[in-house]
Symmetry: C2
Subunit: 319 residues, 2 copies
């Protein structure tokens, strides 16, 4: 007989739903994943999507806490969870959470709210949990945490708290340009809308060179970003630039421009990359070419650690 979960950790993003069935000692009983992200669900479909994924791990005789982070708490999500203000850390009772009334008596869902910055205006939902996870593992860290993805976040951390952050639509721009713009004609064995579309072809050595060379150009002359995009198409038309090379250049161009715009975060001090391995490698390589040594942390592990940290604070508060 399967051990039933003591609680469930959920990372519910725009395009994916991930869950961990946890025991009483916060050890993982099972890792679960489904494509039913927020974008694919209407409000009344969230509970069903969750039960479909985790139902087999729920005890019938008691109510299991389900702690969710991510876009599930957005206005278009399951239930809107308010934003917390900066500086943001883990303090009992401070994190903005909402409980969701569930019709299935086996679950008691809580959604962790995101974080807002008033000036310049910015928001995050989910990344704050990864940063809290990272800080739980590295309580003395001071510096910048970069979380590359569809919407890359750069955050400055001081005294165990997020004090400032900025969002870059780098991954989304890559997907739009590679799949929907005129550039798609030269990238045609592409691509998928996945966050990792950047690195689909990182096995090709020449692409690493294309990536590195374009990243350097983009960092040196970030103001020329808009002048360089169409060159990828023209180079394909006139010189037969290969699709994999064109994708590597586009990725380098955008990541290089992001790093130039994010310079205040990584210009001095420590940098931690919380990323999927391949995407993290791209960022680490680009930063290294600028003399910035970034430490790499696994994104999934930080998410679970962050949700666990919040859950323990919630438990403490309730005792």
């Amino acid at each position: 007989m399967t051990t039933k979960a003591e609680w469930i950790a959920v990372d519910w993003g725009t395009s994916r739903l991930r869950a961990w069935a946890m025991d009483a000692d916060d050890a993982v009983l099972a890792r679960l994943s489904s494509p039913r992200g927020m974008n694919s669900l209407k409000r009344d479909e969230f509970e069903g999507a969750l039960i479909e994924l985790v139902g087999g791990h729920l005890a019938d005789a008691r109510t299991t806490p389900v702690i969710c982070c991510g876009m599930v708490g957005a206005r278009q999500g399951w239930k809107e969870a308010p934003y917390s203000s900066l500086p943001f850390g883990v303090e009992p009772g401070k994190a903005a959470t909402v409980t969701v009334p569930a019709s299935d008596p086996r679950i008691a869902p809580t959604i962790l709210g995101g974080v807002r910055q008033n000036a310049p205006p910015d928001v995050m939902r989910g990344e704050e949990t990864q940063i809290i996870g990272f800080l739980a593992e590295n309580p003395d860290f001071e510096g910048a945490v970069c979380l590359p993805g569809t919407h890359t976040k750069w955050a400055r951390v001081q005294n165990g708290k997020i004090v400032e952050f900025q969002t870059f639509m780098t991954g989304e721009l890559f997907s739009l340009l590679a799949e929907r713009s005129v550039l798609r004609h030269g990238m045609s064995d592409s691509a998928g809308t996945h966050i990792n579309a950047h690195i689909k072809n990182d096995a090709d050595t020449p692409n690493s060179e294309e990536f590195a060379s374009m990243t350097a150009k983009a960092m040196n002359e970030p103001h020329l970003l808009l002048a360089r995009l169409f060159g990828l198409r023209a180079d394909a038309l006139l010189n037969g630039l290969a699709p994999a090379a064109a994708r590597a250049r586009l990725s380098g161009l955008l990541i290089g421009a992001e790093l130039a715009a994010a310079r205040k975060f990584h210009a001095d001090g420590a940098v931690a990359l919380v990323a999927e391995a391949a995407l993290g490698d791209l960022y680490a390589g680009a930063l290294k070419s600028r003399g910035v040594a970034a430490r790499a942390e696994n994104a999934g592990a930080m998410t679970l650690r962050g949700i666990t940290t919040f859950f323990n604070k919630i438990r403490e508060t309730r005792r």
Copy 2:
């Protein structure tokens, strides 16, 4: 009885087909337009789309020359027309053209080829004809010609020839971001994929201020382009930024970044804007804020003048 056309001028772009029925003195008998642009047509559908639009102006007893410019000559178009190299002007026999065998005996179509630049690689199809039209009207002009649109072109003109140019995907980026990215949520009474999506709301005075203020920011700090995009979404979420204002800011951000990247074209010397009126006004305003006085020229008139110039050269050559 309608006077039949002596020849037909055609501007066949990605999303629209425009034609002018012309008399023997190059005066316009009729202006015609259809949404059957290159993107909506398979190779064997071009002739039918053309006949559908201009058929009523064709004489039955003779063959009418049809002179086409634009994306109709692209690889995905009716028939590929080769690129000419720089420097590019109107010289008999030099312009790369292709004739298209038509099954309808009433038409003899010719497609004007585009122009290529080898380093940095770039191409244009259609804009060269507008520039030639502009130069036919202004033979002594020296300086930069800007043709704003889906793919804005900046070209440097010397001695009656295009000597250098650069493409900016400004209009396409605007449409992708306003309609397909996460920013669409804050621009929801938008927008259409039209080239002029930039200026849908230029009637609102506050938007002109939003546009001007963001253009200035973008020109002053073009390297921060990627850092500013998501701010439009966050400002909507946190502060209720209105859709029209968000669109004006996005437009200002992109046009400002383009002008910063195109600085070498407009930093000194004369600037001519060949544009639809409203889009031209946006560019003219942004340039004026930088002390650049740009003269405005009507895009449609320049296109017809350019096609007419080429047709007369072709006629001379054939005589």
